[in-house]
């Protein structure tokens, strides 16, 4: 039977689908496109950029992602071989390696992007408000919005959950009792090119591709999953703190408390919130937290020179080039590292009390501080279980995509022609995500370089 299968050779579509527009997906798409093949890049949110574009600076070199990443994002949008579909989701997959048939749902933006010039008049005047996803809820955005100034594409979508006119339409259609919401339609009135299209419908885009790269990334474990946390505005997660540190962030890089806008004089960073804690979270190490906390403590110290940063840690894991040196630099610059776990954090008037233990001196530690930053565990991106089952690829107990061999086939999945890159496969930092993105692209190109396709040999474990 196996011999029979080996003899089947078929022609195939020399076009790739990349799912996810974060740094791993961008890298894979660019590498495949640069080699001369067509790529369809599908991104669920209104812009590519993923999590990396949210960061203030990246370790250990402290470059600014807005500087180093935006050229790549623009390249994606202008590359002749890349078809970029943002605000879109893969809804159906059939076929097999060489002949995947893909149905992609292009969500209605209520904005005609062929007319829109991205002038910004609409989102400057829109009265609808919602939490900004890009700023991790630290600030608000409007209902018609681009997620951030460097968004690609830099043209808006209307968030129907928060749009006043949509609410008005629903109200009128249902003839609900109560106060009539305003009809609004300010964006429509203000748009100089009549790009607002209330009638725009969701559409299905079909594609036939030869190979797929899954680069769906991650979400942080919600704060409220840690018992007792997630209830205080001054207890925030790592991405929220990135936004406070970012010069392009809601506070223009001034670190402020969310409760009262005061500059925090003492900040406690807590590692392994949910990670390495099967009782409350997940058993695995999230891999990047030690490094980003070292970086955040350092950037905080730069922003507030008379401030004090404390880091509670179990052990510091700095397994990358230049990483340990970076962490040591943080210690030299004044970050105080306390080896031990925190048992509780509670509010004490305008301060937060952190109760923990320093296991090196065997003493109970109480720190009265102004802000607490939790390094929440990295989880596979929300809602992707369905996508993975559509693709027929396996996931591990934590929901990360299982590679076909831990050592020798780190980009391949158990399904021929479907590859994985970035945090979708497991927690990793930016260099590793980029490397795996390029690696997955290499695998796709190897597949395309064959004129006819043979089924992959089973992996010998």
């Amino acid at each position: 039977m196996y011999k029979l299968m080996q003899n089947i050779e078929t022609a195939h579509a020399q076009k790739a689908l990349v799912i996810g527009g974060g740094i791993a997906g961008i890298q894979a798409a660019l590498d495949i496109a640069d080699a001369g093949y067509q790529v369809v890049l599908v991104e669920r949110t209104p812009s590519i950029g993923g999590h990396m574009i949210q960061y203030a600076e990246v370790f250990p070199t402290l470059d600014c992602p807005q500087c180093i990443m935006t050229p790549k994002m623009v390249e994606v949008s202008q590359h002749p071989n890349i078809k970029l579909l943002t605000y879109a989701e893969v809804k159906n997959v059939s076929g097999k390696a060489g002949h995947f048939k893909i149905e992609i749902l292009q969500k209605s933006r209520r904005v005609d992007h062929t007319k829109c010039t991205g002038c910004g008049a609409c989102w400057q005047k829109c009265p609808g408000k919602a939490d900004s996803e890009y700023n991790a809820g630290v600030s608000e955005r409007t209902a018609i919005y681009i997620p951030f100034p460097q968004a690609v594409p830099a043209k808006p979508v209307i968030d129907t959950k928060h749009c006043r006119y949509i609410h008005y339409q629903i109200f009128m259609a249902n003839k609900t009792e109560g106060k009539k919401p305003p009809e609004c339609r300010i964006c429509e009135k203000i748009c100089p090119v009549n790009a607002i299209d209330w009638e725009q419908q969701d559409t299905i885009v079909t594609e036939e591709v030869g190979a797929i790269v899954v680069a769906t990334g991650f979400d942080l474990m919600p704060l409220n999953q840690i018992p007792g946390y997630g209830i205080d505005p001054d207890i925030i997660n790592g991405i929220q703190f990135e936004r406070l540190l970012s010069p392009g962030g809601p506070t223009a890089g001034v670190v402020k408390r969310l409760s009262d806008g005061k500059i925090p004089r003492e900040v406690v960073f807590i590692s392994c919130c949910g990670s390495r804690d099967p009782e409350h979270g997940v058993a695995y190490c999230s891999r990047v937290c030690c490094m980003y906390l070292a970086k955040q403590a350092m950037l905080y110290k730069n922003a507030v020179p008379d401030g004090q940063a404390y880091v509670f840690y179990i052990d510091t894991r700095t397994t990358g080039k230049g990483y340990e040196e970076f962490l040591q630099r943080g210690i030299e610059e004044g970050t105080l590292y306390l080896r031990g776990k925190v048992s509780r954090v509670y509010r004490d008037r305008d301060k937060l009390k952190v109760i923990g233990v320093d296991t090196l001196s065997s003493r109970k530690v109480e720190i009265s501080c102004d802000m607490v930053v939790l390094a929440m565990a990295i989880l596979p991106s929300n809602g992707n279980g369905k996508l993975f089952s559509l693709l027929g690829i396996e996931t591990d107990i934590d929901g990360f995509v299982t590679e076909s061999h831990h050592k020798f086939h780190p980009m391949e999945t158990a399904v021929d022609g479907i590859f994985v890159a970035g945090v979708a496969q497991g927690p990793k930092d930016i260099p590793d995500s980029v490397a795996q993105g390029s690696g997955a692209a290499g695998k796709v190109l190897a597949l395309f370089s064959r004129a006819r396709l043979k089924p992959q040999e089973p992996v010998k474990v």
Partner: protein
């Protein structure tokens, strides 16, 4: 409703104010508490030593009596008894090896396999009676009274024995609300009071009480309710010494949650045995016109 009731030693001596008020309140709610015949000490503290099985025998014998009595569930008032009985019961239900050893040792009794469930009165109030029914019985709502709910440890730890969310319990606050009072949140609600350390390290317990009571005061509490006789003892006794040591220490009245229930139900004031609470608590009750 008829329930098997395990009192325990302290309830019958120092904490009669807990028992008397609880029985009166439960009578009012139509619950018949049948005291477990031939009950003995619960074992006081659950032994953490893995091979210290003899320690669990007192608990197990009580649980056997519950079966003999013809009940499937036993209810305690004392949080400490609840914890000890509950955890001994978990062993008998879940650990075949230890169950065999204990049953073999107690061969004069019929073998026990953890069939009984151990509940604390608060669970009965929340799950079996329901706070709405309790609310309906309120004659004199505790209008505007700011009450901090202190849980201590034994109702919540370990997680397997917790009657509520072990980190953010709400059961007592909901009860205060149902009685018309204002529940006060404070960060030390689940902190340990120092427990039996009071026997040989009273200063340590006093300092714990200082932090707990001060934290409740800071958050605006006018009184603290408790569910454990040892917490009540520690928080009450410590205040005498603390007032001498810290001149700015004000202290707070300490009451059992069943006492504030009896007050709000408008029951005969005598069943609260307030003479067993501190004189400060009694004065406060008069000041607030809860006791005329």
């Amino acid at each position: 409703m008829e329930l098997s009731y395990y009192p325990g030693c302290t309830i019958k001596t120092r904490a009669r104010n807990f028992e008397d008020s609880a029985m009166a309140v439960l009578h009012e709610l139509g619950v018949n508490m049948v005291e477990l015949p031939r009950w003995n000490c619960c074992g006081t503290v659950y032994s953490l030593a893995d091979d210290d099985l003899v320690h669990h025998i007192a608990s197990v014998r009580n649980l056997m009596h519950v079966r003999k009595q013809g009940h499937e569930k036993v209810v305690t008032l004392c949080a400490f008894c609840y914890n000890t009985l509950h955890r001994a019961n978990d062993i008998m239900r879940d650990n075949a090896e230890k169950r065999f050893a204990i049953n073999s040792f107690m061969d004069e009794e019929a073998a026990y396999e953890g069939q009984v469930s151990v509940s604390h009165l608060l669970q009965v109030l929340r799950d079996d009676i329901g706070l709405e029914k309790i609310s309906a019985k309120v004659q004199k709502p505790l209008d505007g009274l700011k009450i901090a709910s202190y849980y201590g440890c034994t109702l919540l730890r370990p997680k397997s024995a917790a009657i509520d969310n072990p980190e953010n319990p709400t059961i007592l606050q909901s009860l205060v609300k149902a009685l018309g009072g204002t529940p006060i949140e404070f960060p030390f609600a689940t902190e340990c009071c120092g427990s039996f350390q009071v026997v040989d390290n009273r200063d340590f317990v006093n300092e714990r009480a200082y932090e707990i009571i001060n934290s409740a005061v800071k958050n605006g509490a006018e009184a603290i309710i408790v569910s454990c006789p040892l917490c009540e003892f520690n928080l009450r006794q410590a205040q005498v010494k603390l007032k001498q040591k810290y001149t700015d220490f004000k202290g707070l009245p300490i009451l059992y949650f069943t006492q504030i229930m009896a007050l709000s139900f408008g029951l005969d004031i005598k069943i609260n045995d307030f003479e067993l609470n501190s004189t400060e608590t009694q004065e406060w009750l008069k000041k607030e016109k809860l006791v005329v």
